[in-house]
């Protein structure tokens, strides 16, 4: 099995592709069959991916020497692209994680999407997304990766706008697509520059040549440009600070989509990409600092927004943005393993929370305001308690998964600061504050939704097994997934690391700090939102600092700013260009056209449009030509009829 999986790794993304095609072309009219096909394919993928991961992680050889298959894909003079697969521990981990979450989400969706008119299509999209994501993960080549990168973007677009009848969903889909396009554009430019400069896009080859950029005659400035351009992609895809605006809006899609794409998999593609390209970033001094700064800022920034949001999925979305910032921060401070470790744990607990939120919304018929919920844990015990597990995990309470990864990030940040980076302390402060806020807003959510007095929701009941089963699985994983990366049993960083394996010894103080911060956050949330039945304190706080509250609640007016920017600046610029176009360019073109038209005007009368006239002329010509060509020679007729 393992052998097979290693040899046929390309099957992992292929199976969902097949299911996508099957559903679209064959089984679309039969909803149940479609979902069965999708889940079957995903199960196959998952089994392959898990045995692949097992194979990779149990064999130390792979950790050092990635598996790499490739074959010639595009070829032309001076430009060859090989397509292939690259399996190293990071991609193996990603494969395992993505296929697992995708599988669980699909199982969940059979319950969540039940009765939707486009049920089959939804599974087709999920399959396509899973295929693209898996393809992205195992791509050995930047162009190939870019294609999958765009494909996941497309799927994200399709799935955000899945409820096509909702205006907000359509708008959100467009927003997501356009926003990420900005980043993708930068990334494409980066890829092109790399191709031009290094004449290869293969990751392994690039990893080999980039450190020697100076010998190849590539200036540092150019490399910096490339790195910044490259970073634009992840900034957009992973919702980092200036381009994060699409991610909360993307919650208009069905909740399983949010869980799969906008929490666990696609958004972390950016982190994964930066991690993959870390060999580029380390060569450019300062670029990592930018990454770290943006990560840290995003983490705190999003956390402050999340504190005041009212919609359950929006809170989780900002939480996602914040956690992605964490991962970026970890990358920025140079720790691939910490970043990917957080990615790994985050995937489970965030997917869990999203799915649980979906379960809540499902039960409440899409009433999303957390203030209108309450006491749901009694009616939906499985959903509630799994959410609590997720909350503990994200808040960083040991031994839940989040604790270990977050602790790791704090640790590497701290060490980064300790190693002479002045900004490091700022980052650390940001990270710590974020940790506190994270615990606070998540538990605010939990207390509001699941505890406290029950609101008038008589008909609420637990979701079906197809929805609760993935929750339970994810809850278990949220509990234990971090245990492979504890400071004592640090399997993780022996598997995944950039440069030397980080050999951390447990920093008990930091752990303590982290736990204290988390507990403080939870405690504050408890005081404000659970103990205080009327939430008077919370309300009065909001009243007391309206500016702060509004700033947070209005998401720092970033959307408004963007709107203003596009309205005034972009449109203004466009107007100038427009004038230029209509007067100068069009003038020339129209002049040419008028000339052509004028000549055509005179000739058009030859075309009568009458078919038979043409035929008449045609036959006339045949007759004339026959006679003309044959009458000149003496024995023309005999020649014409000369049949032997």
């Amino acid at each position: 099995m393992i052998e097979f999986a290693l040899n046929y790794a390309w099957l992992v993304p292929l199976l969902p592709v097949l299911s996508f095609l099957t559903i679209v072309f064959l089984t679309r009219p039969w909803a149940r069959l479609s979902s069965a096909v999708a889940i079957g394919a995903m199960l196959g993928s998952f089994l392959l991916a898990s045995s692949l991961a097992w194979g990779v992680f149990t064999n130390p050889a792979f950790i050092e020497e990635p598996l790499h298959y490739s074959l010639r894909w595009l070829g032309m003079e001076g430009f060859t692209v090989n397509a292939g697969i690259l399996i190293d521990p990071a991609s193996a981990m990603m494969l395992f994680m993505v296929s697992l979450v995708a599988l669980l989400v699909q199982i969940y969706s059979t319950g969540y999407m039940k009765g939707d008119p486009h049920y089959s299509l939804f599974f087709a999209y999920l399959s396509l997304f899973a295929a693209s994501m898996l393809g992205l993960v195992i791509s050995s080549n930047l162009l190939q990766m870019f294609i999958f990168w765009e494909l996941v973007g497309l799927c994200s677009y399709l799935l955000i706008g899945f409820y096509t009848y909702k205006v907000s969903a359509r708008e959100a889909a467009k927003k997501a697509f356009i926003t990420t396009r900005i980043g993708d554009f930068g990334m494409l430019l980066g890829i092109l520059f790399l191709q031009i400069q290094f004449n290869t896009l293969d990751l392994l080859e690039l990893a080999a040549v980039i450190p020697n950029f100076a010998q190849l005659g590539v200036s540092l400035g150019l490399l910096t440009l490339i790195a910044i351009l490259f970073f634009l992609g992840p900034v957009a895809k992973s919702g980092q600070f200036p381009l994060h605006v699409w991610l909360p809006d993307a919650m208009e899609g069905p909740t399983p989509v949010s869980a799969l794409i906008h929490a666990a998999t696609m958004v972390v593609a950016g982190v994964y990409l930066v991690g993959r390209m870390l060999f580029l970033f380390v060569e450019v001094p300062g670029s990592l600092t930018v990454v770290a700064f943006i990560g840290a800022f995003t983490a705190l920034f999003a956390a402050t927004i999340a504190v005041t949001q009212r919609e359950i999925k929006r809170i989780l979305a900002y939480s996602t943005v914040s956690q992605l910032g964490y991962m970026m921060l970890a990358l920025g401070v140079g720790s691939l393993s910490a970043s990917l470790f957080h990615l790994w744990t985050h995937a489970f607990f965030k997917a869990l929370m999203f799915l649980a939120a979906g379960s809540v919304l499902h039960a409440l018929h899409n009433k999303a305001d957390v203030w209108e919920m309450g006491g749901l844990i009694r009616k939906m015990p499985i959903t509630g308690w799994t959410f609590v597990v997720g909350g503990l995990a994200i808040a960083g309470i040991p031994p839940f998964a989040g604790f270990w990864s977050k602790d790791e990030i704090l640790l590497v940040t701290w060490e980064y600061a300790r190693h002479g980076h002045a900004l490091g302390y700022l980052f650390f402060a940001f990270a710590a504050l974020t940790a506190f806020l994270t615990a606070f807003y998540i538990w605010r959510l939990i207390f509001l939704v699941f505890f406290g007095p029950e609101k008038a929701n008589d008909h609420v009941h637990e979701s079906p097994l197809s929805m609760t089963l993935p929750l339970l699985v994810l809850a278990v994983l949220s509990g234990v997934a971090g245990l492979i990366g504890t400071p004592w049993t640090n399997l993780w960083s022996t598997w995944i690391h950039f440069g030397d394996a980080h050999s951390g010894e447990p920093a008990y103080l930091l752990m303590l700090l982290s736990v204290v911060l988390a507990l403080a956050g939870i405690g504050l949330a408890f005081i404000l939102y659970c103990k205080d039945q009327d939430k008077q304190a919370a309300r009065s706080l909001a009243k007391k600092y309206p500016a702060l509250y509004n700033l947070s609640y209005r998401k720092y007016y970033i959307d408004e700013a963007y709107t203003w920017f596009t309205r005034k600046i972009v449109d203004g610029g466009a107007k100038v260009i427009y004038l230029f176009d209509i007067y100068l360019v069009d003038g020339v073109v129209n002049g040419l056209a008028a000339l052509t038209k004028g000549s055509g005007q005179g000739l058009k009368y030859l075309q009568t449009g009458k078919l038979q006239t043409y035929a008449l002329i045609f036959f006339l010509a045949v007759l004339v030509l026959t006679v003309a060509f044959n009458l000149d020679s003496a024995n023309a007729l005999a020649h014409l009829g000369g049949v032997k």
Partner: protein
Amino acid sequence: MAGALNPSYFVVLSAALFTIGIYGALSKKNAIAVLISIELMLGAVNINLVAFNKYFTPEAFSGQIFAIFVITVAAVEVGLGLALIIALCRRRNTTALDDLDWLKW
């Protein structure tokens, strides 16, 4: 022997049929009539094919086989032609070919 049939009989017959077909195709207003005239022309072609088959390649049967293909294609042509005419008629309410000139100018 004067009496015996030779290919020229058939060629002349075919020529007559063909020219009648051409005349029809060129001079009829109704699209279906034009289609019919084209069938006449194809029939003329078939006469030639079969006659030449008989007189020049009796064993090879190429002429007959080509005639079969011609008949088949002619059937296809009539079907498609009629379908087009019906579709046109639904849209434009005319079957006169001269009225189908809205691509001119």
